[in-house]
Symmetry: C2
Subunit: 310 residues, 2 copies
Amino acid sequence: MIDAAGLRVMKAIADEGSFTAAASSLGFTQPAISQMVRRLEQKTGTALVDRMGRQVRLTEAGEVLARHAVTVLSALDAAEEEVAAIAGLRSGRVRLMAFPSSSASLVPQALALLKRRFPEVTVRFSEGEPPESLAALRAGECDLAVAFAYEGTDVGRGEDLDAFVIRPLLDDEVRLALPVDHPLANSDVVDLSRAADEPWIAGCPRCRGHLVSLAYRAGFAPNVAFESEDYVAVLGLVRAGLGVSLVPDLILNSAPHEGIETRSLSPSSRRQIHAVTTEDLLRVPAVAATMEALEASAAAMRPVSTLRTP
Amino acid sequence: MIDAAGLRVMKAIADEGSFTAAASSLGFTQPAISQMVRRLEQKTGTALVDRMGRQVRLTEAGEVLARHAVTVLSALDAAEEEVAAIAGLRSGRVRLMAFPSSSASLVPQALALLKRRFPEVTVRFSEGEPPESLAALRAGECDLAVAFAYEGTDVGRGEDLDAFVIRPLLDDEVRLALPVDHPLANSDVVDLSRAADEPWIAGCPRCRGHLVSLAYRAGFAPNVAFESEDYVAVLGLVRAGLGVSLVPDLILNSAPHEGIETRSLSPSSRRQIHAVTTEDLLRVPAVAATMEALEASAAAMRPVSTLRTP
DNA sequence: GATGAGTATAAGCGGAAGTTATCGATGTGA
DNA sequence: TCACATCGATAACTTCCGCTTATACTCATC
């Protein structure tokens, strides 16, 4: 019923002492104030000002409104300022979810960049493989997901990707990891079928699926001797000579890999790393800034013009 | 910039979980909410809701607004309720100023009546002779004045009475007060000139002025032996035989006057008692109620059809 | 009594904000 | 799997609130 504008007017009258002064202090004309007060008076059902000749004075009810005006207006200001801080990147929180093997290099770099640019933006980071992270995004539990998709597949299987904004970040080569002394290590590019009889070490479920699919196309079914979600463990197993593995190049930039050789595959295989969010969330400045930081970090990491836009 | 309506909408969305539900809870249609949110978003410069498919969720900035909405809206409600209490006579304060000789009878009765009708209305009462009370009214220091004017004069001399609302309350006969054994006490009506040689006891300055003026018209200049603003003292002096006095009838209803006789004057003299306020203040319910209580008490006090409307 | 300062009122206008109608997208249930 | 129900977005229209301009009126002051 009664609104902030009315309170603002009453307060201006109380402060300035006349309708005319109140009007100019609010950037209105005098009749506007006159009408506003009249409207307020008939809404509240009592006189708010006492017009004694040419000087106006607030009545008790008028004083009440002027007094409450301070509370209401300052609460409004506080709300406005808080939102303005979020809009102006002087505040804000981003919930980021990334798959584990990105946490070591791409994400830390991006977050460092973001922190440098917008120190006040806080990021809550959690790890999650693409299916989980997209589900979290859909459920409103995170704002931005870093996910990957093997060449020829989609980021999320069975998800409607139309609802998401998907930005390519990196094009990550999948390489064959071998112990240093492995016989296959003597050629630069290894045909996958030559490793048909090797024991295999698989990564995460999707990575295992990718291996199986590649092997199928190369004409064999891989003998998966071990599997681990942790690429450090995978590389350890390879180093120990317990098998070979398919490892994204990005891993090798961050995990220690002495005692391990990697070779390009033929046919080559790649995975695309994407940042995923929604159209609305991209309009949240902190989310957009994080997205940009991810894109900038990715651009700095990859060799020039390696990225294939899907 | 941002107003209470916007906050109310954000809060409704937060509470109801959808635009449609928020709309019906606020009594609007769904497009109204849709547009409202869009306006808010372009005013604040950030996304406030995340439209994931057909479910909407608030963003951080949206949550901020919904959170502040509680503060702002409850402050607005508080203001409204406080004013409504004043308008509904469940609260309110009246500053009443009355001349001393009315304080004993008319005013107490009126205030008792007011208290009976509206127990929550508080009255701050102070005494003041007409010139002061009108000045206080003009200065905004009181809301309602009980003043008197001797027949043929105005309530305030030199004041512009147009600014005031003046309501007649009582028509008070001015009587001659004598010691019981005074020779003039043997006739019902006393011609003022017969008291020309008496020593006089005068009341307040205006009353003394009235005495002088009446005496002048009766052909003598009164010998004022004593004067006192306190009518109890005046009556005491009369009782002690130190002189005679002109005393309004109203006084005799409230002050003890054993040992004193009063007689009507010829030519008769009266004073009018009025309640004075401003047009605006009369629209303040508590002031109007006090005014009515005064009028009701006055009506109860006077003999039927004694009041002369000026 | 003229002037200046202040408020009230009338008339008019613009735009803000609501409504209806409709579309597109998204789950849901037969 | 297709139809249906639900929800949000959009467009077009309309209404009416609230501001401005213009003017009258009141009241102090010189």
